[in-house]
Amino acid sequence: MTTTANDTPRPVVMLCECAGTMKNLDFDELAMFAGTKAEVLRDAKWCSRNGQARILELMEAGYGRQLVFAGCSQDFVNRRFQRLLQRGLTLEVADIREGCAWVHSDDTAIVTDKAVRIVDAALRYPTKPADALAHENKVDSVLVIGGGVAGTQAAAELAQMGHTVELVERRPFLGGLAARIGTVFPTNDCGQCLPTTDAQAGTRKCFHRNVAIDNPNLHIWRRATVESVAGKPGDFEVSLRRLPNIVTGDCINCGTCETVCEVANAEGNAKAIYAEFYDGRVHRSVDLETCTFCGACAEQCPTEAIDFTQSPELATVHAGAILTAVGCDTAPEHLISHLGYGHDGVVTQTELAELMDDWEEQSWLGQQPAQEVVMIQCAGSRDRRRLPYCSRLCCMIALKHAMRLRLLFPEMKVTICYLELRAAGVGYESWYLDARRAGVEFLRGTPSTVQFDEHGKPVIEVEDMTSAAKRLLRPDLVVLSTGMVPAADTERVAGVLNVDLDEDGFIEILDRKNRATETTQEGVFVAGSAAGPKALVEVNTEASAVASEIHNFLTSAGRRMQPPSEVVAADCVGCDTCMTMCPFSAITLEERPAGVPRPAEVKDDGKLAVIDPEACHACGICAANCPEMAIVHNLGDDDLFGRLEVMIEGVEKPIVGFYCRECAGAAISLAGMRHDPYPENVRLIGLPCLGRVSALHIVEAARLGAAGVFLAGCAEERCQYRTGDASAVEQTELAGELLEQAEMSVPLDLWHLCAVDRHSVGRRIRHFAAHVADPDGVPVDQPVASAAACEGGDGCGRPSR
């Protein structure tokens, strides 16, 4: 699949001698060979100031010519020529340094022959240049789903940065769970602080004092839900459904309406017109489920702030990016009913917080003969039948509440039944010690049930693991430290946004190590407890982090796009293989438009796979799995076959190494920098992702005479393209099986590497080569640190024995 047309000028090979460090290469011979196919320019050091100036001249003069750089590895080129690459330089790299001269012996003839082949492969089977950007044009606005602390804080920061923000909250009031729980750890004050604007003093400001939420860029949608999302990253079209709040912004919180209202809500704890949490904008709202619309409140309202003429509305907004901050909820009743929840005298920590915050309730607490309180940790958590995970907050919440109870009621006996206390955070350990000093009893062991005596008083039988003795507790109040579950709407929102959920039902983050605010869908971000229960300290950090992340996304020029894979309509039968394999949901099956070619065997209404070029990451997984070979990757099958042939034809017992240019590429090129030697018959083929390899390529390598094939990809479960590794494992197994049946078996191996494996990858390759040379003498399954293969010495990376 060469792109050279008849009238295009000869390609240019820039031969770099790398300041004389490649002494085992005969550059005259290399230049003579390259001269037969291209114009050759030699330089002792192309990355020097003079060399780069020459390249600049070449870029200006030789526009449209194919440039092949024969020298160091792609990774090194990317850094050394970074500024020229940014100015539009497109280079095909032939790695004759780390991939050849630096890792091979002094046998000039053999090493030069390999270098010639590397240059030949780059000249004849070049990859397409990555010269386009994905998501270049973006709408400068953000949709934030969820008006809890995470969502509101991120929305306020984004509005301050100058972006238009649509903040959508399901309930009538902002503030989320943090507004309900009162004081929070580790500061023991309220959890409602938000970032301030320049117009305010730089002190903490809670929801009702904070004018940052009044930023004209920030639009708050109360009682609104996201119905559907269309469009693409950078320009989503979002349908919103909003229920009326009835109470308008003219409300002055006199409370007249509540006194005239005669309807109670379903729980019976408030009127149909009610106040829940003052988020600085709206005091009251109307419970539309119970309100009889009698209009009494509207008649009495002194400011005419009650408007019953409002009706539900549907609206469409455009957003460049979407932030999900739907938060979490406390575990539902059925997960803690085994611990007596539902009986009098058993409450959750959240309910206890509400009891303690409200003085009336607090006095109830004080008036009760509540002499003894028992807190049960991990209530429903870390339990395979209930919540299998640790919610991480409950330990600290229990400590906070235990200390508060001891402070409010010094006579009260507080016992915490726990299995492990997880107090890891800044200042957390001192809280634990403080609680001990405050006289809280810590009992190691949690009860499996809570029973009740004839007076309805809780009875708890628990084994104290420290003293190995049974204890019988008869508390007045049992407090369950319940875990957190995804907010009720999480699954639906995830479906609308097309993002994945993790095994616990929270929004899945893209990478647990360093991409905690991105979801599996480009342009959709996540912050706070939507991605798993989090303490407020982490929520605040994440909200700010995601705001800058979204700002970067909206203001960046766009992601540099590898040339996307293309579907050959005449070959595509419209099965669902590519669609199910694509890790980026970039492929859809669509109606075949009239006039588009169709394979003869496909039925009349047969579908056609369509690849969204901007969503495609060009990993090649679809191309490697398409049964009909109807998908052409930018490194096509013919290019790969060609490269294989150029690299190994006529070589005695060649070993083919397919490697991904991500993590395995880093390990291999770093090993090359360390001059870690391996035999010359090892021929490497670089790929964007190991998922590009199909069983067909391995079979073709064997057919061309490869004596062994290894594949090197990213660390296990850490494939940069998510499923490429799994696909490669499957294809390797299939190839191994087929080769075995055809009695053409060659040693096959698949390695998971990351940059730290630079010390061992050379040894691994040497060992594999030794195994290929002597399959019976050298076992294949002890690749690292095998005495038989490790020659020790300078390049070995291990201390010699």
Partner: protein, 160 residues
């Protein structure tokens, strides 16, 4: 035609090779278990080539053979109890009825992509791996340019 294009490309290079497990990548043979089929027609919708299609008739014997513990098995047993005589064959289904329809499977049209087996909720479409003989019928002249099996190992590091 149970081999896909990728399958053909592979087996042209591999005389005597055949997959042990079914895989849509190289092709497969579809075996239908009518007694398990619930007639939902997902295979017919998903099939690229129209090898599976919804029929105009329904064969009540499918119900008699259905697993006894399934709803369809129970229906078959009930049918057996009330029926005066055994049905002779497929019966025509009125146009409005969508569920009780037998799937017509036309092997001639099958591409071997295995999509029907992937989408079938009842395991009624099974993808069986293609056998060496079936591959031989399709791929006539295998090319074999690799080294003859049994070549002795040679020293590492010698090339060209």
């Amino acid at each position: 035609m149970p081999l896909t294009r990728r399958g053909e490309a592979i087996f042209e290079r591999l005389p005597g090779g055949a997959p042990r497990e079914s895989t849509g990548a190289v092709g497969c043979v579809i075996v239908r278990h009518e007694e398990l089929c619930i007639g939902c027609g997902r295979c017919a919708t998903a099939c690229p080539s129209g090898a599976s299609s919804k029929g105009l008739s329904f064969d009540p014997r499918q119900l008699f053979d259905a697993p006894a513990e399934s709803r369809r098995g129970a229906l078959g047993a009930a049918l057996r109890r009330v029926a005066r005589r055994a049905p002779e064959g497929p019966i025509e289904v009125p146009e409005l009825v969508t569920t009780f329809r037998s799937i017509i499977y036309d092997e001639e049209k099958c591409l071997g992509c295995g999509t029907c087996a992937r989408v079938c909720p009842a395991d009624a479409a099974e993808a069986r791996p293609v056998t060496v003989d079936e591959i031989r019928e399709k791929v006539a002249v295998p090319v074999h340019a690799g080294p003859a099996p049994g070549d002795g190992p040679s020293a590492v590091g010698t090339s060209a």
